[in-house]
Amino acid sequence: MEKQHESYLAEFVQNGHDESFQIIAEHWYPAIYRFAYSYFGNRDDASEIAQKTLIKVYQNIRSLKEVGSFKSWIYRIANNLCLDELKRAGRRKSESLSLIPKELKLSELTPVTEIESKELNSLIHQALNRLPEQVRAVVILKQFEEMTFIEIGDTLQIPEGTAKTRMYKGLDLLGSILKQWNIETDYLNYD
């Protein structure tokens, strides 16, 4: 959906046009669901967060002054809900990077290409879970939601430079985690 269309729809909803909200909900539900799924790795949490996000959007859209920044605003709501849910459930927290669950570590150095996609998905999700919250949010928004660093800054209300630094840190940490789990990232091929 084009940014201009988002703005128009947001304005319509602000003016009480509920049919426009249905279009917004249908368009954004899958995106927010995927975003939340990257956080939690399960359908229930993802659909709950997506649902709550859209309800909050509906309830608070009149307070949105800049309709042009609707995308950042909706992701900000979703991100805050994800963080709240993590805190509420007492999950994740800062699991030490040195604590490698035995069931995750592969028995020998294995190239990525030899890991089944479902297993790899699970491993990557576990690796994401081990990132500090602030870093993880940036990695998800950049890598999976394909936002620019300016958009990430706007969404998380941090300077653009901070978003870049956190992304660097995120990739660096993920690389270390994958190495610890004996997952070969064959980076030498890039020379």
Binding site: Y33, A46, A50, Y58, Q59, Y187
Partner: protein
């Protein structure tokens, strides 16, 4: 150790958020630094691995539309509300206290109850509009707009049809007139030809008569 500025540049480079000049300049820097080169390759490799991650898609129609209790719920602001309630309560208490020492008027009008100090004029009329009435007005305006649009569209359609018919008639008239004119020109031409042919025959006859007469006299 890679400094923070270079880390940010690496991110710009990796995610293609540099202009061509910056890119060239940074590529030069990478060429001259083995550390940067190695780090860039590591980051690319990690990015490529996590690029394999695919969050599951939601089931269709995953969003459950809001029921009435969820609609337009006032955002929860407990602390602020508490302050508002406390302030209101304090004002009421102060009013009652002052009221004890002054002439308080309390009564009822058609619009509701009033509380005032001294001798208020109770003829104040406050006619507002409720949300329900507003919604009705909006709905009515929408319906009227829709009817007006339909009527306009019909009118435009009719005008276009009339214009088209007029154009068609004018074109037919033009061709008819032109055909008649051509027919007249053709008839005139034919008459002229006939006349000139008759003249020529007449002249030929006279010339032949002259020749015959001359030959008979010899």
């Amino acid at each position: 150790m890679i400094d923070e500025k270079s880390q940010q540049k690496l991110m710009d480079y990796l995610f293609d958020e540099m202009n061509s000049d910056e890119r060239k300049e940074f590529e030069q820097k990478i060429q001259n630094s083995e550390e940067l080169r190695n780090k860039l390759n590591e980051l690319k490799a990690t990015q490529s691995v996590i690029g394999n991650y695919s969050p599951e898609e939601p089931e269709e129609n995953g969003f459950h539309y809001l029921d009435e209790s969820e609609k337009r719920e006032t955002p929860k602001r407990p602390r602020r509300i508490n302050y508002v309630i406390l302030t209101a309560a304090a004002l009421v208490l102060i009013s009652i206290f002052i009221g004890l020492f002054s002439s308080v008027q309390f009564g009822e009008t058609e619009q509701g109850y009033y509380l005032a100090f001294g001798n208020p004029s109770v003829d104040v009329e406050q006619e507002g509009i409720s949300e329900e009435e507003l919604n009705e007005i909006i709905a009515q305006i929408r319906t009227e707009n829709s009817l007006m649009m339909n009527s306009m569209m019909e009118q435009i359609q009719q005008d276009q049809n009339a214009q088209f018919n007029e154009s068609l008639t004018a074109l037919a008239d033009y061709y008819e007139e032109r055909r008649n004119r051509d027919l007249m020109l053709f008839t005139e031409g034919l008459l002229q030809l006939e006349e000139s042919t008759a003249n020529q025959i007449d002249q030929t006859n006279r010339a032949l008569n002259g020749i015959i007469y001359a030959l008979s006299n010899e």
